[in-house]
Structure formats: structure tokens, C-alpha cells
């Protein structure tokens, strides 16, 4: 462990391998909790900004707290190759791609439904605007599809053919 990690965790002395594994596992859980809390804080802060009609520095800082560590984790995962899935036959590859398609499809539906509700009821209430179901649902589906296509290619990119 480096000095920064020891300093942040308040550790003195060396850790053995079992302790290091436990610390890594707890650290990952801690990151996930931080990320989720950050997302909730961001939604609340952004909602308040919409309500008051003024984008606050607080919201931008919370967004930075959520996005910067997430980018760091994604970059390190990508560099280490730990996010890659290796396949050893065409059958396995096709099975995995089908699985990804289902996963992305469900995410698109989920995203579209949640965003439709948020845009129709949440934003219109916060912005003191009139509800416009058709355009809100259309926007949500379009965003969901764009997001889904990006997610599909990103997930597909992480599959490595080893045959």
C-alpha cells in the first residue's frame, strides 16, 4: 500500500495479503456507496436549481465529485484489462452478444420509462411548466435509444475474441 492510502485509511505498519484484499474489497464498496450518495445529492441539487431557475456552483462541484472518480475508475479498469471479457469460440461470442443486446434493451426501456416520468412530472413541476406528454416521452425514448446504442458498442468493445 502506498503512503497516501495508509494516510487516508489511518493505518500504521504493513498489511499482509489477506488484509490488503479485505481493504480493496471494502474500498470498492465504499466507492459504490460514495457514487450512489453523490448521484442522489446531484439529483436533489439539480432539482433545486431547476426549481429556483439558477445553476449553482454546488451542483457543478457535486457533478465533479461523481464524474471525476468514475472516469478515473473506468480509465484504470480499461488500462488494466479487467473490464474485458474473453471468449474462446464463436458460439460463446454469439451467446454473449445476445446477452448484451437483452441487457441493453432492458436498460433502454428502463431509462425511457424513468426519464418519461421524470420529464413529464418532475421537470414540468420544477420549471412551473405545462405538462407535454408527447414531446417528453419522445425525448426520453430518443435519449434512451442513443444511450442504448452507445452502451451496446461500449459493451461490445469490451468483448475480446481469443480464437
Amino acid at each position: 500500500m502506498n503512503l497516501l492510502e495508509k494516510w487516508i485509511l489511518g493505518l500504521s505498519g504493513a498489511r499482509d495479503e489477506a488484509q490488503q484484499k479485505a481493504i480493496s474489497s471494502i474500498g470498492l464498496q465504499g466507492y459504490i456507496v460514495t457514487y450512489l450518495v453523490g448521484c442522489i445529492a446531484l439529483i436533489i441539487s439539480f432539482g433545486w436549481d431547476l426549481y429556483t431557475g439558477n445553476l449553482n456552483i454546488r451542483t457543478i462541484l457535486i457533478a465533479g465529485i461523481v464524474i471525476i472518480p468514475a472516469m478515473f475508475v473506468m480509465y484504470r479498469l480499461r488500462k488494466s484489462g479487467s473490464d474485458q471479457t474473453e471468449v474462446y469460440s464463436e458460439t460463446d461470442y454469439r451467446r454473449l452478444i445476445t446477452h448484451i443486446k437483452w441487457q441493453v434493451g432492458l436498460s433502454v426501456v428502463n431509462f425511457s420509462v424513468v426519464m418519461s416520468l421524470v420529464m413529464t412530472y418532475g421537470y414540468t413541476w420544477l420549471l412551473h411548466d405545462k405538462e407535454n406528454y408527447f414531446f417528453n416521452v419522445l425525448d426520453a425514448i430518443t435519449c434512451g435509444l442513443v444511450w442504448g446504442v452507445c452502451m451496446y458498442f461500449y459493451a461490445k468493445h469490451k468483448v475480446v475474441k481469443e480464437y
Binding site: 499482509d16 495479503e17 489477506a18 488484509q19
Partner: protein
Amino acid sequence: MIENRVKQYRKQRGLTQIDLARQTGLTRQTIGLIESGKYNPSLKACLKIAAVLFTGLDALFNPNSFDD
């Protein structure tokens, strides 16, 4: 987890968990976890334990008991 005979060999050598921990550079807690089969040690740790107990890896660990 993997079955092992670390406890048996350690007792044969007349060592306590603390003695084994000191000689292998692990903690007593980790030795306890290894002996109870709750932690799979790294190859480096296995080799250190085998060296301290004057035995081989095949005698200490049973590879047929992997459950993952």
C-alpha cells in the same frame, strides 16, 4: 475454498499460529483464516508456509477441494 493441512503440520512442528505468522510475514489472523479454510492464500504465501513447515505444497493443500 481449498482444503489444507496447515494446522496439522504446524502442530507437528510445535509452532503456534503466532510463530508461523512471524516466520511467514503474514498476520496471526490470516493464518487462522487459512487454517479454517476461509481464505485462499496466494502462491507466494503458500510457498512461504510450506518452507516454514518443511513440506511441499501437495502435502499441505488439496487441489481437488476447490469449490470455485
